[in-house]
Symmetry: C2
Subunit: 246 residues, 2 copies
């Protein structure tokens, strides 16, 4: 699909995903949001809670560090425990220090003190933020995320991740969201592959996909035409329908 | 966690994951299986249905091509339509040709002819297999996956992916599966971070993780100790419980 939209990657950090203990959902949520606002998600990576791996992935993915994509969003590893090494990894990747951020500390103190929770050393660990980063508000709990270079660092807890995505959305360089039309057929993929290919070749600016499904003992194929221009998508779908029923 | 187990990566191929249309589940399934048989999953990547991106990812991840991990498992892009480019990408990554595989064709013909389905040109596209690859049986439908170098190429349809995982399992270089013990606390992560860190430092051969949870208006933390030796895991958990209740 042709597009001048910004490109993006998501980096998920967490041993619990790789061990099979947790089924990741934040990347799927953000993928839908990015698509809706016209940012082209090109890659998702999941790595362990190990600083060298995280540093390398950030450098490979954030264009401001010579990496591949315009924007990078991370999920996980910014909690208060010893296995939360994302903030230190981001600081290392950007070659900056890490400091107790007074603004973050004030936000966290205000929230906790209102609940009578003491602000201990471990809690304040979540206010350690790379120097020069801008905070990302956390409307769900308290500890903020942060943004440095083209990297947006967010928490792995799903409710907090979503709150942080909502917080950064207004400042993202949004583009032209793709539109799509679908056609659900009770036929196998192979039976429509020729027609699909012909239309895909006639509309190189669009993305045509086919997704086989099986349910209730029957099978079929969902054909999806996707692109930036509604008229082109509609024209391609009309041609596809014509060819298939012919 | 210290381990002499083989390392692995999963490469998921599919625009529909990146657009947010489909929530990926194959990587989560395989992550659980690999953990159970003692293979250490170190990375998951999701890339689009674009040959150069797939080739690059395979080369980066398969040790037989100079990549990082002992084993690579792929999901998706081996169907009959124009957007299925995984087989061609694998052939390119391994610098081999791609050919109509007679064994694959025979398997597919036997199954389809028994159902009275004609074996058309598009269906036979799924029998195009890189030269030198060994087939992976597909007990769910018919078109096989394949194995070349250290890369196992499997279908994206969840039922077929699972059938192929079952088929390769007996031949994988399994290791020592980790064991784990969990402790569910109605306390915040910060309140136990110090104790968790102390025990983690005392047991460098183990992996200690903490996972905050929120449900029904209450919150807590699940602590997980993971390692290869049951006695060590039990000892670390006992020490953790002792420190937390002290």
């Amino acid at each position: 699909m042709l597009s001048e939209n910004k490109t993006a990657a998501i980096l998920v950090i967490g041993d619990e995903i790789l061990s099979g203990r947790t089924r990741e959902g934040n990347a799927h949520h953000l993928a839908g949001v990015l698509s809706a606002v016209g940012i082209d998600l090109k890659e998702i990576r999941v790595v362990a809670d190990e600083q060298p791996l995280i540093v390398e992935a950030i450098r490979a993915l954030d264009s401001s560090l010579g990496g591949r994509y315009d924007l990078l969003f991370t999920s996980g590893g910014i909690g208060p425990t010893h296995d939360d090494v994302t903030a230190d990894s981001v600081a290392e990747a950007f070659g900056t220090g890490i400091e107790m951020n007074e603004e973050a500390l004030a936000v966290m103190r205000a929230r906790w003190e209102a609940r009578g929770v003491p602000v201990t050393g471990n809690r304040t660990r979540m206010a350690r933020i790379p120097v020069g980063a801008k905070l990302i508000a956390n409307s769900y709990s308290a500890a903020p995320g942060f943004h440095i270079g083209n990297t947006y660092v967010m928490a792995g807890v799903p409710e907090v991740f979503r709150a942080m995505v909502d917080a950064i959305l207004p400042e993202l360089p949004t583009g032209r969201p793709p539109v799509s039309e679908s056609l659900d057929l009770h036929r196998g993929e192979s039976e429509v592959a020729e027609e699909l290919k012909s239309v895909a070749e006639a509309y190189p600016d669009l993305s045509l996909g086919s997704y086989p499904w099986h349910r209730d003992g029957t099978f079929g194929t969902m054909l999806v035409v996707r692109g930036l221009d509604q008229d082109r998508v509609a024209a391609a779908m009309a041609e596809l329908k014509g060819r298939i029923s012919a």
